[in-house]
C-alpha cells in the first residue's frame, strides 16, 4: 500500500508539471486542446492527493507501525479520533494536507469557472499548478509520508499530549484552508500580469476568494488562540509567539487588501499596490507554514525541526522575485485611472488604513525575526518578545480601531465640513462618555481609555449608519425594527456585512483589553477543606482523585466555586500523566460566565497531600470568542452578495 501512496504522489508531481506545461503551450499557441488537458491534469492531482490521504489515514487508523509516520505519531492506545487527526500532527502529513487543500482549491476554482472559456482562467490554474509542483515534489523527494521502517516497533511513540485536544482536530485544517486559499487570489494577480489583462471584473472575483480564505484564516487563528488558552495552561490565549505571529501576518495584509480593493473597484486607483498586497499575503502564508514547520524560531506551537526550511525559503525567494519582476514588467497596465482628490475622504482613510496594516505587519515580521535580523545587521543576536509587541503593535492597532469608525462615514472623493459635523459629533461624544464611565471602574492609562473611546465611537457610527439606512427607506415601510434591519442588510450585504465584521472587531478589542489589563491572579497550596480567595470568588478544595483514562493517569483537584457566599459550581482542574511519554499535561478548569472566566490550574500534589492551585480571573474573554463569531457572521453575509457580479456580467 505504501508503494501505491508513493506512486500517487509521484504521479501527482508528474501531472502538475504536465498541467503547467500544457496550459503554457495552450496559452502560447491559442489551441484549446492543451488547455483542456491541463485542466484535467489539475483535477487528476486532486484525485491523487485524495488517494494519498486515504492511504495514509488507513495506515493511521489501523496503527500500521511499519509506516514511519504512523510509528512516530500514534500508539495503539491512542483514541481513534486522535489517530485520525494525527494526519496533521507531523510534517509529512501536514504537507500532504496542504497539497490536498491546494489541489482542492485548484479543482474548485476550475469547477466554479467551468463555463468560462476565457484562457485567463487557465492561466490562473497554471499558477496554482506551479505551486502544486512544489508540494508534490517535496512530498515525493524530500519529505515522504510513506516511508516504511526496516523493523516495525511493537508500538508507536504516541501522539504529543498537547495535540490530544478536540480543538487540534479542527484548528489545523481550518487554518490551512485559510492559508492555502490565498493561492487563488495570487493566481488571479499573476494571470492578469502574465496575459496583460485590463478591466476590473477579476477584481470582484478576487475579492470574494480573498474574503473566503480570510474568514477561514481568522477562524483558524482564533481556534489556535482558544487551544493555547485551554491547553497550554498559562492563563492567556495570545503570547506573540512566532507561530502565532506567522498566522497573523497574512491575515493583516489580507485585511488591508480587502479595504483597498474597494478603492480600485470604485475609482480605478491603487492597482500596483493591490497586486503587491495579494502577492505579499500569499508569500506570508507560505512563510507561516515555513515558520511552523522549520523550527528556526523557538515556539510553543512548533512541533518539529526539519530539513524542509531551505526548500520553503527558496520557494518564497523565487516566487517573490517572479511576482515582483512581473509587476515591474507590466507597470503600464497598472496605471491609476484617477487621482486622489482629498486626504479627508473615504479613499484617504482607506489608504491610511493600508499604510497602518502594512506597518503592523512589518513590525510583527521584524519582531518575529529579530534574532536573525539583528545578527545579520549588527552581529549580536537580540531577541524581543511580548513586551515589544505590546509596545509597538498596540498603538498601531488602536489607530486602526479609530479608523474603523472614521473611514466608513467619510464620503468618497472629498468629505465636506458638514459631513464631518453630521457624522462625527455624536460618536465623539459617545466615545468620551464611555471613557468617562469606564474610569471609575479602574480603566486608567492612555491606551485603555483610547480603546474604550474607540469602541464606543465605532459602535455609534455603525448604529448611525443602520439608522440612516432604515430612515431612507422608511417612507414605504411600516415593519418592525428587526425586520427592517434584516431587510436593510439584505439590500446591501457587502456594506452591512462589513459593518457587522467591524462590530466583531470592536468586541474583540474590548475582550483583549479586559483580559489583558484587568487580569487577576492568585495561588496557594490547599489541603482538603481549605480555600483560596480571588476577586469575588472563593475556591474550596473538596478533594483530590486519581483515575486511569484511556492512555493517561488523571489526577484531579475538585474545587467548589463560591461567589459572594453562594455556591456557583464545582470544577475539576487536572493533570494527566500520559503513559507513553511520561509527560504531564495540565487540564485547565474553566468556570465560564459572560463577564469573566475563572481559570484554574492544578500545579501538582505536594508530599503533605496538599494541592497547589493557581487561579486567574480573565474578564471579558468571552468577547474575544464572541467577536470572532460575529466576524464570521458578517463575513458570511458579505460573501453571500452575488448581486454585484451578476450586474457586472450583464454590463460586460
Amino acid at each position: 500500500m505504501s508503494e501505491l501512496g508513493r506512486l500517487a504522489l509521484f504521479l501527482g508531481f508528474a501531472c502538475s508539471i504536465f498541467a503547467v506545461g500544457s496550459i503554457a503551450w495552450g496559452l502560447r499557441t491559442g489551441y484549446s486542446g492543451p488547455l483542456r488537458s491541463g485542466r484535467r491534469a489539475v483535477w487528476t492531482v486532486c484525485a491523487l492527493a485524495l488517494l494519498a490521504v486515504i492511504l495514509l489515514e488507513r495506515a493511521l487508523l489501523a496503527r500500521d507501525m511499519s509506516y514511519r509516520y504512523v510509528a512516530e505519531h500514534t500508539s495503539k492506545d491512542l483514541p481513534l479520533h486522535y489517530a485520525f487527526s494525527s494526519l496533521w500532527a507531523g510534517q509529512e502529513g501536514s504537507l500532504l494536507l496542504w497539497l490536498l487543500i491546494l489541489s482542492a482549491y485548484g479543482s474548485a476554482f476550475l469547477f466554479a469557472y467551468r463555463k468560462r472559456l476565457d484562457p485567463f482562467y487557465d492561466a490562473v490554474a497554471m499558477v496554482i499548478a506551479t505551486v502544486m509542483i512544489f508540494f508534490t515534489g517535496l512530498l515525493t523527494f524530500v519529505s515522504s509520508p510513506f516511508r516504511i521502517l526496516a523493523t516495525p516497533p511493537p508500538d508507536g511513540m504516541g501522539l504529543n499530549p498537547l495535540l490530544q485536544d478536540p480543538g487540534m482536530m479542527i484548528h489545523p485544517p481550518i487554518l490551512y484552508t485559510g492559508y492555502v486559499g490565498f493561492i487563488v487570489p495570487f493566481g488571479f494577480a499573476m494571470a492578469v500580469l502574465l496575459l496583460n489583462r485590463s478591466g476590473t471584473r477579476w477584481i470582484e472575483e478576487v475579492r470574494r476568494w480573498t474574503l473566503f480564505c480570510w474568514g477561514f484564516l481568522g477562524v483558524g487563528i482564533l481556534l489556535g488562540a482558544r487551544w493555547a488558552y485551554v491547553e497550554l495552561g498559562w492563563g492567556g490565549y495570545w503570547g506573540w509567539d512566532p507561530v502565532e505571529n506567522a498566522s497573523l501576518m497574512p491575515w493583516l495584509v489580507g485585511t488591508g487588501f480587502l479595504h483597498s480593493v474597494m478603492i480600485e473597484q470604485r475609482r480605478g486607483m491603487l492597482k500596483t499596490w493591490n497586486i503587491a498586497l495579494i502577492a505579499l499575503t500569499f508569500e506570508l502564508s507560505i512563510f507561516g507554514t515555513f515558520l511552523t514547520r522549520s523550527g528556526v524560531l523557538t515556539s510553543v506551537h512548533s512541533f518539529a525541526e526539519s530539513n524542509i526550511g531551505p526548500w520553503f525559503l527558496s520557494f518564497i525567494l523565487i516566487s517573490g522575485t517572479a511576482a515582483t519582476a512581473l509587476i515591474l514588467y507590466r507597470k503600464a497596465l497598472l496605471e491609476s485611472e484617477n487621482r486622489m482628490d482629498a486626504m479627508i475622504s473615504r479613499e484617504g482613510s482607506f489608504l491610511f488604513n493600508n499604510v497602518l496594516f502594512v506597518a503592523l505587519t512589518f513590525a510583527t515580521f521584524l519582531g518575529t525575526t529579530f534574532p536573525v535580523v539583528s545578527e545579520a545587521v549588527t552581529g549580536t543576536k537580540i531577541s524581543v518578545s511580548a513586551p515589544f509587541f505590546n509596545r509597538v503593535n498596540v498603538p498601531i492597532a488602536l489607530a486602526l480601531l479609530l479608523l474603523t469608525g472614521a473611514g466608513p462615514v467619510l464620503s468618497w472623493k472629498r468629505a465636506t465640513a458638514s459631513v464631518l459635523k453630521r457624522n462625527f459629533v455624536l460618536p465623539t461624544v459617545m466615545g468620551i462618555l464611555a471613557a468617562g464611565i469606564a474610569m471609575p471602574f479602574g480603566a486608567e492609562g492612555v491606551y485603555p481609555l483610547v480603546c474604550i473611546f474607540g469602541a464606543a465611537f465605532v459602535v455609534t457610527t455603525i448604529v448611525m449608519e443602520f439608522a440612516r439606512g432604515i430612515q431612507a427607506r422608511k417612507s414605504s415601510e411600516t415593519a418592525a425594527l428587526p425586520a427592517q434591519v434584516v431587510h436593510l442588510v439584505k439590500k446591501n450585504k457587502r456594506r452591512y456585512g462589513g459593518y457587522i465584521v467591524h462590530t466583531g472587531i470592536v468586541l474583540l478589542f474590548v475582550g483583549v483589553l479586559g483580559s489583558s489589563v484587568f487580569q487577576k491572579e492568585a495561588h496557594a497550596p490547599l489541603k482538603t477543606g481549605e480555600a483560596l480567595h480571588i476577586g469575588p470568588y472563593t475556591l474550596t478544595l473538596r478533594g483530590v482523585t486519581e483515575r486511569q483514562k484511556e492512555n493517561a493517569i488523571l489526577t484531579t483537584a475538585i474545587l467548589g466555586v463560591e461567589r459572594g457566599g453562594k455556591l456557583v459550581g464545582t470544577e475539576h482542574a487536572s493533570k494527566a500523566l500520559y503513559s507513553k511519554s511520561q509527560q504531564p499535561m495540565t487540564e485547565v478548569a474553566l468556570h465560564w460566565t459572560p463577564a469573566e472566566d475563572l481559570y484554574m490550574i492544578l500545579g501538582g500534589v505536594n508530599e503533605d497531600g496538599s494541592a497547589s492551585i493557581q487561579a486567574y480571573i480573565n474578564p471579558l474573554v468571552s468577547l474575544v470568542w464572541g467577536g470572532g463569531i460575529v466576524m464570521v457572521l458578517g463575513t458570511l453575509i458579505a460573501l453571500s452578495d452575488r448581486m454585484r457580479i451578476r450586474r457586472e456580467e450583464k454590463a460586460g
Binding site: R68, E72, L149, V355, S383, G603
Partner: protein, 136 residues
Amino acid sequence: MGNSTRLIVMSLVVIAAVGYLILTGVKQTGMQYMTVTELAGLDRAPKAEGFRLDGTVAPGSVVYDQREPKLQFKMTDGKENISVVYEGLMPDAFADGREVVVEGSYRHAERAIYASKLVTKCPSKYEAKGLGKDKS
C-alpha cells in the same frame, strides 16, 4: 501642497512613528541572545539588562517548590552552566535534559538568571529517533 505630496508626507509620518516605536521598543525590551558559555564567561556584570538563553536542563539540578511556586535549576550547553530561578508553575514538558529557552534578567553576583519567561521545547523524542532505518 498637492495631494501626492500630502500622501507622501502622511506615509512618512506613519513610517517615522512606527520606526520610532520599533527603535525604542527594541532598546527597552530587547534581550541579548546568548549561549550559556558566553554568559558564564563574562567577567564583569554586563550592561544589558534582558537576556535570552537557549540550553538544556542539567540533569539532577532541578529544585521545585510547588507551593510558592518557584523553580530553580541549572541550565547547560554542555560546557558551562548557569543557575536559573523562575517563579511560576513548572511547564508540563519540563524535565531533566529537556531543551529550554529562558528570558529574564541576569544577576552577575549570583551568576543566575531570574527568568520571567520559560519555554520548554517539545521533546525531540516525538520526532524520528530510535525507530531505526527505513526499509530500502
